[in-house]
Protein backbone atom coordinates (compact mmCIF):
# COMPACT_ATOMS: atom_id res chain seq x y z
CA UNK A 1 0.00 0.00 0.00
CA UNK A 2 1.10 3.59 -0.48
CA UNK A 3 3.37 4.49 2.38
CA UNK A 4 4.50 7.99 1.51
CA UNK A 5 2.39 9.63 4.19
CA UNK A 6 4.70 8.44 6.90
CA UNK A 7 7.25 10.96 5.71
CA UNK A 8 4.87 13.77 6.58
CA UNK A 9 3.27 12.35 9.68
CA UNK A 10 4.73 13.67 12.90
CA UNK A 11 6.51 10.63 14.28
CA UNK A 12 6.84 12.17 17.71
CA UNK A 13 3.17 11.44 18.24
CA UNK A 14 2.88 7.70 18.64
CA UNK A 15 -0.76 7.09 17.76
CA UNK A 16 -2.39 9.76 15.63
CA UNK A 17 -6.14 10.00 15.81
CA UNK A 18 -8.34 8.83 12.98
CA UNK A 19 -8.89 12.41 11.98
CA UNK A 20 -5.16 13.11 11.74
CA UNK A 21 -4.61 9.98 9.75
CA UNK A 22 -7.26 11.03 7.28
CA UNK A 23 -5.72 14.46 6.81
CA UNK A 24 -2.18 13.14 6.45
CA UNK A 25 -3.34 10.45 4.07
CA UNK A 26 -5.28 12.97 2.01
CA UNK A 27 -2.19 15.17 1.77
CA UNK A 28 -0.19 12.22 0.56
CA UNK A 29 -2.76 11.17 -2.00
CA UNK A 30 -3.28 14.71 -3.28
CA UNK A 31 0.48 15.08 -3.64
CA UNK A 32 0.46 12.02 -5.87
CA UNK A 33 -2.70 12.18 -7.93
CA UNK A 34 -3.91 15.76 -7.63
CA UNK A 35 -7.03 16.97 -5.92
CA UNK A 36 -9.61 15.81 -8.39
CA UNK A 37 -8.26 12.29 -8.69
CA UNK A 38 -8.22 11.88 -4.92
CA UNK A 39 -11.53 10.37 -3.89
CA UNK A 40 -12.90 10.58 -0.41
CA UNK A 41 -13.55 6.86 -0.47
CA UNK A 42 -9.93 5.99 -1.09
CA UNK A 43 -8.78 8.60 1.36
CA UNK A 44 -10.83 6.90 4.03
CA UNK A 45 -9.61 3.47 3.04
CA UNK A 46 -6.02 4.68 2.98
CA UNK A 47 -6.43 5.88 6.57
CA UNK A 48 -8.26 2.71 7.56
CA UNK A 49 -11.24 4.83 8.54
CA UNK A 50 -14.83 4.28 7.49
CA UNK A 51 -16.29 6.53 4.83
CA UNK A 52 -18.87 7.83 7.24
CA UNK A 53 -16.14 9.11 9.54
CA UNK A 54 -14.83 11.34 6.81
CA UNK A 55 -18.08 13.26 6.64
CA UNK A 56 -18.29 13.21 10.39
CA UNK A 57 -14.92 14.93 10.80
CA UNK A 58 -15.19 17.08 7.70
CA UNK A 59 -18.85 17.99 7.36
CA UNK A 60 -18.10 20.45 4.57
CA UNK A 61 -16.87 17.59 2.45
CA UNK A 62 -13.98 17.38 0.11
CA UNK A 63 -13.13 21.05 0.12
CA UNK A 64 -12.63 21.05 3.85
CA UNK A 65 -10.52 17.93 3.72
CA UNK A 66 -8.36 19.40 0.96
CA UNK A 67 -8.02 22.64 2.86
CA UNK A 68 -6.81 20.87 5.96
CA UNK A 69 -4.45 18.71 3.95
CA UNK A 70 -2.90 21.81 2.42
CA UNK A 71 -2.55 23.54 5.77
CA UNK A 72 -1.15 20.36 7.28
CA UNK A 73 1.57 20.14 4.67
CA UNK A 74 2.23 23.86 4.92
CA UNK A 75 2.73 23.69 8.66
CA UNK A 76 4.88 20.60 8.36
CA UNK A 77 7.28 22.26 5.94
CA UNK A 78 7.19 25.57 7.81
CA UNK A 79 8.18 23.81 11.01
CA UNK A 80 11.27 22.34 9.42
CA UNK A 81 12.04 25.55 7.59
CA UNK A 82 11.77 27.66 10.72
CA UNK A 83 14.05 25.36 12.64
CA UNK A 84 16.78 25.19 10.03
CA UNK A 85 16.67 28.90 9.24
CA UNK A 86 18.08 29.56 12.68
CA UNK A 87 21.41 28.44 11.19
CA UNK A 88 21.02 30.95 8.39
CA UNK A 89 19.37 31.21 4.96
CA UNK A 90 21.71 28.76 3.30
CA UNK A 91 20.95 26.09 5.84
CA UNK A 92 17.24 26.82 5.54
CA UNK A 93 17.38 26.59 1.79
CA UNK A 94 19.20 23.30 1.98
CA UNK A 95 16.67 21.92 4.42
CA UNK A 96 13.79 23.03 2.23
CA UNK A 97 15.34 21.37 -0.79
CA UNK A 98 16.15 18.19 1.09
CA UNK A 99 12.65 18.01 2.44
CA UNK A 100 11.14 17.79 -1.03
CA UNK A 101 13.94 15.67 -2.33
CA UNK A 102 13.04 13.16 0.33
CA UNK A 103 9.38 13.14 -0.71
CA UNK A 104 10.26 12.68 -4.36
CA UNK A 105 12.90 10.02 -3.86
CA UNK A 106 11.11 8.04 -1.15
CA UNK A 107 8.02 7.82 -3.33
CA UNK A 108 10.08 6.77 -6.35
CA UNK A 109 9.12 9.99 -8.16
CA UNK A 110 5.43 9.41 -7.60
CA UNK A 111 4.68 12.09 -4.99
CA UNK A 112 5.24 15.81 -4.96
CA UNK A 113 3.78 18.82 -3.22
CA UNK A 114 0.06 18.79 -2.46
CA UNK A 115 0.04 22.58 -2.22
CA UNK A 116 1.11 22.85 -5.82
CA UNK A 117 -1.42 20.21 -6.82
CA UNK A 118 -4.26 22.17 -5.25
CA UNK A 119 -3.01 25.40 -6.81
CA UNK A 120 -3.50 24.20 -10.36
CA UNK A 121 -7.12 23.13 -10.07
CA UNK A 122 -9.51 25.49 -11.78
CA UNK A 123 -11.81 27.12 -9.24
CA UNK A 124 -15.56 27.20 -9.85
CA UNK A 125 -16.61 30.36 -11.67
CA UNK A 126 -16.76 33.39 -9.46
CA UNK A 127 -15.57 31.89 -6.21
CA UNK A 128 -12.29 30.96 -4.57
CA UNK A 129 -12.35 27.56 -2.86
CA UNK A 130 -10.97 27.50 0.64
CA UNK A 131 -8.33 24.97 -0.38
CA UNK A 132 -6.99 27.33 -3.02
CA UNK A 133 -6.91 30.20 -0.55
CA UNK A 134 -5.10 27.93 1.89
CA UNK A 135 -2.52 27.13 -0.78
CA UNK A 136 -1.90 30.83 -1.32
CA UNK A 137 -1.48 31.25 2.41
CA UNK A 138 1.03 28.41 2.61
CA UNK A 139 3.11 29.86 -0.19
CA UNK A 140 3.07 33.21 1.58
CA UNK A 141 4.11 31.62 4.85
CA UNK A 142 7.07 29.88 3.24
CA UNK A 143 8.08 33.04 1.42
CA UNK A 144 7.76 35.07 4.60
CA UNK A 145 10.03 32.75 6.54
CA UNK A 146 12.69 32.81 3.86
CA UNK A 147 12.45 36.55 3.29
CA UNK A 148 12.67 37.26 7.00
CA UNK A 149 15.82 35.23 7.36
CA UNK A 150 17.34 36.88 4.31
CA UNK A 151 16.63 40.32 5.76
CA UNK A 152 18.22 39.33 9.01
CA UNK A 153 21.35 38.57 7.05
CA UNK A 154 21.59 41.90 5.36
CA UNK A 155 19.46 41.50 2.26
CA UNK A 156 17.38 44.51 1.29
CA UNK A 157 13.66 43.93 1.92
CA UNK A 158 12.53 44.03 -1.70
CA UNK A 159 15.40 41.87 -2.84
CA UNK A 160 14.66 39.47 0.00
CA UNK A 161 11.01 39.18 -0.98
CA UNK A 162 11.84 38.57 -4.63
CA UNK A 163 14.45 35.98 -3.80
CA UNK A 164 12.09 34.20 -1.43
CA UNK A 165 9.46 33.97 -4.15
CA UNK A 166 12.02 32.63 -6.57
CA UNK A 167 13.12 29.96 -4.11
CA UNK A 168 9.63 28.69 -3.40
CA UNK A 169 8.60 28.77 -7.04
CA UNK A 170 11.78 27.10 -8.23
CA UNK A 171 11.53 24.32 -5.68
CA UNK A 172 7.90 23.64 -6.52
CA UNK A 173 8.61 23.62 -10.22
CA UNK A 174 11.70 21.51 -9.83
CA UNK A 175 9.86 18.84 -7.88
CA UNK A 176 7.39 18.53 -10.73
CA UNK A 177 10.21 18.32 -13.26
CA UNK A 178 11.88 15.59 -11.25
CA UNK A 179 8.67 13.58 -11.35
CA UNK A 180 8.33 13.94 -15.11
CA UNK A 181 11.94 13.02 -15.76
CA UNK A 182 12.10 10.41 -13.04
CA UNK A 183 15.42 11.93 -12.01
CA UNK A 184 16.76 14.14 -9.25
CA UNK A 185 19.00 16.02 -11.63
CA UNK A 186 16.68 19.04 -11.80
CA UNK A 187 16.85 19.29 -8.04
CA UNK A 188 20.64 19.17 -8.17
CA UNK A 189 20.70 21.95 -10.74
CA UNK A 190 18.24 24.13 -8.87
CA UNK A 191 19.99 23.54 -5.56
CA UNK A 192 23.35 24.62 -6.92
CA UNK A 193 21.94 27.73 -8.53
CA UNK A 194 19.84 28.80 -5.56
CA UNK A 195 22.63 28.20 -3.08
CA UNK A 196 25.03 30.37 -5.07
CA UNK A 197 22.35 33.00 -5.37
CA UNK A 198 21.64 33.12 -1.66
CA UNK A 199 25.33 33.08 -0.81
CA UNK A 200 25.88 36.07 -3.03
CA UNK A 201 22.94 37.96 -1.59
CA UNK A 202 23.67 37.74 2.12
CA UNK A 203 26.33 39.92 3.69
CA UNK A 204 27.92 37.42 6.02
Amino acid sequence: MASGAEGIVDVTKPSPTARERIVAGAADMISRRGLNATSIRETAKHARAPLGSTYHYFPEGKQQLATEAVRFTGAWAARSLRRELEAGPVAGLRAFLDLWRGIVVDSDFRAGCPVLAVSIEEPPAGETPTALAAAAGVFEEWEGLLAGSLREHGVEPEQAAQLATLIVAAVEGTVAMCRAKRSTQPLDHTAAQLQALVLGAITD
Copy 2:
Protein backbone atom coordinates in the same frame (compact mmCIF):
# COMPACT_ATOMS: atom_id res chain seq x y z
CA MET B 1 -17.60 29.59 -22.82
CA ALA B 2 -13.94 29.00 -22.04
CA SER B 3 -11.89 30.86 -24.62
CA GLY B 4 -8.36 30.41 -23.38
CA ALA B 5 -7.38 27.99 -26.13
CA GLU B 6 -7.31 30.76 -28.68
CA GLY B 7 -4.16 32.03 -27.06
CA ILE B 8 -2.40 28.82 -27.95
CA VAL B 9 -3.98 28.11 -31.31
CA ASP B 10 -1.88 29.17 -34.26
CA VAL B 11 -3.86 32.08 -35.67
CA THR B 12 -1.95 32.01 -38.91
CA LYS B 13 -3.95 28.96 -39.84
CA PRO B 14 -7.47 30.18 -40.54
CA SER B 15 -9.52 27.01 -40.09
CA PRO B 16 -7.90 24.31 -37.97
CA THR B 17 -9.15 20.82 -38.53
CA ALA B 18 -11.35 19.07 -36.03
CA ARG B 19 -8.39 17.08 -34.86
CA GLU B 20 -6.33 20.19 -34.18
CA ARG B 21 -9.21 21.82 -32.36
CA ILE B 22 -9.52 18.81 -30.11
CA VAL B 23 -5.83 18.83 -29.24
CA ALA B 24 -5.72 22.57 -28.60
CA GLY B 25 -8.87 22.41 -26.54
CA ALA B 26 -7.52 19.49 -24.53
CA ALA B 27 -4.34 21.43 -23.82
CA ASP B 28 -6.40 24.35 -22.59
CA MET B 29 -8.62 22.22 -20.42
CA ILE B 30 -5.71 20.27 -18.95
CA SER B 31 -3.96 23.53 -18.16
CA ARG B 32 -7.02 24.57 -16.16
CA ARG B 33 -8.29 21.45 -14.44
CA GLY B 34 -5.46 18.97 -14.61
CA LEU B 35 -5.36 15.75 -16.57
CA ASN B 36 -7.69 13.67 -14.47
CA ALA B 37 -10.41 16.29 -14.27
CA THR B 38 -10.37 16.73 -18.03
CA SER B 39 -12.90 14.37 -19.50
CA ILE B 40 -12.90 13.28 -23.10
CA ARG B 41 -16.57 14.11 -23.33
CA GLU B 42 -16.02 17.73 -22.39
CA THR B 43 -12.94 17.95 -24.55
CA ALA B 44 -15.02 16.93 -27.53
CA LYS B 45 -17.80 19.32 -26.64
CA HIS B 46 -15.31 22.14 -26.12
CA ALA B 47 -14.00 21.56 -29.64
CA ARG B 48 -17.53 21.16 -31.02
CA ALA B 49 -16.63 17.69 -32.15
CA PRO B 50 -18.62 14.52 -31.51
CA LEU B 51 -17.39 12.12 -28.88
CA GLY B 52 -16.95 9.41 -31.47
CA SER B 53 -14.50 11.57 -33.39
CA THR B 54 -12.22 11.72 -30.40
CA TYR B 55 -11.75 7.99 -30.42
CA HIS B 56 -11.50 8.05 -34.17
CA TYR B 57 -8.57 10.48 -34.15
CA PHE B 58 -7.02 9.17 -30.95
CA PRO B 59 -7.62 5.44 -30.92
CA GLU B 60 -5.36 4.97 -27.91
CA GLY B 61 -7.74 7.07 -25.87
CA LYS B 62 -7.05 9.64 -23.27
CA GLN B 63 -3.34 8.96 -22.94
CA GLN B 64 -2.76 9.68 -26.59
CA LEU B 65 -4.82 12.85 -26.46
CA ALA B 66 -2.95 14.05 -23.38
CA THR B 67 0.37 13.21 -25.00
CA GLU B 68 -0.45 15.23 -28.08
CA ALA B 69 -1.72 18.11 -25.99
CA VAL B 70 1.54 18.20 -24.08
CA ARG B 71 3.62 18.08 -27.21
CA PHE B 72 1.42 20.71 -28.81
CA THR B 73 1.99 23.11 -25.94
CA GLY B 74 5.67 22.28 -25.84
CA ALA B 75 6.12 23.06 -29.51
CA TRP B 76 4.09 26.24 -29.21
CA ALA B 77 6.27 27.59 -26.42
CA ALA B 78 9.46 26.34 -28.05
CA ARG B 79 8.57 28.18 -31.24
CA SER B 80 8.25 31.46 -29.42
CA LEU B 81 11.29 30.78 -27.30
CA ARG B 82 13.47 29.92 -30.27
CA ARG B 83 12.44 33.05 -32.11
CA GLU B 84 13.06 35.44 -29.22
CA LEU B 85 16.33 33.82 -28.18
CA GLU B 86 17.86 35.11 -31.39
CA ALA B 87 17.94 38.48 -29.65
CA GLY B 88 19.80 36.96 -26.71
CA PRO B 89 19.04 35.08 -23.49
CA VAL B 90 17.52 38.08 -21.75
CA ALA B 91 15.03 38.61 -24.56
CA GLY B 92 14.25 34.91 -24.60
CA LEU B 93 13.69 34.86 -20.88
CA ARG B 94 11.39 37.84 -21.11
CA ALA B 95 9.42 36.23 -23.91
CA PHE B 96 9.09 32.99 -21.97
CA LEU B 97 7.84 34.86 -18.93
CA ASP B 98 5.43 37.00 -20.94
CA LEU B 99 4.07 33.95 -22.67
CA TRP B 100 2.93 32.42 -19.42
CA ARG B 101 1.92 35.72 -17.96
CA GLY B 102 -0.45 36.07 -20.88
CA ILE B 103 -1.98 32.65 -20.25
CA VAL B 104 -2.47 33.38 -16.58
CA VAL B 105 -3.84 36.89 -16.97
CA ASP B 106 -6.04 36.21 -19.98
CA SER B 107 -7.66 33.32 -18.19
CA ASP B 108 -8.17 35.39 -15.04
CA PHE B 109 -5.78 33.12 -13.12
CA ARG B 110 -7.68 30.00 -14.12
CA ALA B 111 -5.23 28.46 -16.58
CA GLY B 112 -1.59 27.49 -16.28
CA CYS B 113 0.79 25.10 -17.95
CA PRO B 114 -0.60 21.76 -19.11
CA VAL B 115 2.90 20.25 -19.09
CA LEU B 116 3.16 20.88 -15.38
CA ALA B 117 -0.35 19.54 -14.86
CA VAL B 118 0.52 16.27 -16.57
CA SER B 119 3.79 16.02 -14.66
CA ILE B 120 2.11 15.81 -11.28
CA GLU B 121 -0.21 12.92 -12.03
CA GLU B 122 0.83 9.67 -10.44
CA PRO B 123 1.71 7.11 -13.08
CA PRO B 124 0.29 3.59 -12.87
CA ALA B 125 2.58 1.26 -10.96
CA GLY B 126 5.53 0.07 -12.96
CA GLU B 127 4.97 1.99 -16.16
CA THR B 128 5.54 5.50 -17.49
CA PRO B 129 2.59 6.89 -19.44
CA THR B 130 3.44 8.43 -22.77
CA ALA B 131 2.04 11.78 -21.66
CA LEU B 132 4.44 11.89 -18.72
CA ALA B 133 7.36 11.00 -20.96
CA ALA B 134 6.24 13.74 -23.34
CA ALA B 135 6.22 16.23 -20.48
CA ALA B 136 9.78 15.30 -19.60
CA GLY B 137 10.74 15.78 -23.23
CA VAL B 138 9.14 19.20 -23.36
CA PHE B 139 10.98 20.34 -20.26
CA GLU B 140 14.20 19.11 -21.78
CA GLU B 141 13.52 20.92 -25.02
CA TRP B 142 12.89 24.21 -23.23
CA GLU B 143 15.98 23.76 -21.09
CA GLY B 144 18.05 22.89 -24.12
CA LEU B 145 17.02 26.02 -25.97
CA LEU B 146 17.80 28.25 -23.01
CA ALA B 147 21.08 26.52 -22.19
CA GLY B 148 22.22 26.71 -25.79
CA SER B 149 21.61 30.41 -25.95
CA LEU B 150 23.39 30.94 -22.66
CA ARG B 151 26.41 29.03 -23.90
CA GLU B 152 26.47 31.11 -27.03
CA HIS B 153 26.78 34.14 -24.81
CA GLY B 154 29.74 32.93 -22.86
CA VAL B 155 28.22 30.92 -20.06
CA GLU B 156 30.06 27.75 -19.10
CA PRO B 157 28.14 24.60 -20.17
CA GLU B 158 27.43 23.29 -16.69
CA GLN B 159 26.43 26.68 -15.41
CA ALA B 160 24.24 27.16 -18.48
CA ALA B 161 22.46 23.85 -17.93
CA GLN B 162 21.84 24.59 -14.27
CA LEU B 163 20.56 28.06 -14.99
CA ALA B 164 18.27 26.78 -17.71
CA THR B 165 16.75 24.25 -15.33
CA LEU B 166 16.25 26.96 -12.74
CA ILE B 167 14.50 29.20 -15.26
CA VAL B 168 12.07 26.55 -16.44
CA ALA B 169 11.34 25.32 -12.93
CA ALA B 170 10.91 28.80 -11.54
CA VAL B 171 8.55 29.86 -14.28
CA GLU B 172 6.44 26.74 -13.89
CA GLY B 173 6.28 27.13 -10.14
CA THR B 174 5.60 30.83 -10.35
CA VAL B 175 2.65 30.34 -12.68
CA ALA B 176 1.10 27.99 -10.15
CA MET B 177 1.72 30.48 -7.35
CA CYS B 178 0.07 33.22 -9.35
CA ARG B 179 -3.01 31.08 -9.74
CA ALA B 180 -3.22 30.35 -6.04
CA LYS B 181 -2.73 33.98 -5.06
CA ARG B 182 -4.76 35.36 -7.93
CA SER B 183 -1.98 37.86 -8.48
CA THR B 184 0.85 38.41 -10.92
CA GLN B 185 3.19 39.53 -8.16
CA PRO B 186 5.04 36.20 -8.04
CA LEU B 187 5.75 36.54 -11.74
CA ASP B 188 7.08 40.05 -11.19
CA HIS B 189 9.37 38.82 -8.44
CA THR B 190 10.62 35.86 -10.39
CA ALA B 191 11.10 37.92 -13.53
CA ALA B 192 13.24 40.48 -11.73
CA GLN B 193 15.39 37.85 -10.07
CA LEU B 194 15.87 35.71 -13.18
CA GLN B 195 16.67 38.69 -15.37
CA ALA B 196 19.36 39.89 -12.98
CA LEU B 197 20.71 36.37 -12.78
CA VAL B 198 20.95 35.95 -16.53
CA LEU B 199 22.43 39.39 -16.98
CA GLY B 200 25.13 38.55 -14.48
CA ALA B 201 25.90 35.22 -16.09
CA ILE B 202 26.37 36.23 -19.72
CA THR B 203 29.56 37.94 -20.82
CA ASP B 204 28.15 40.57 -23.15
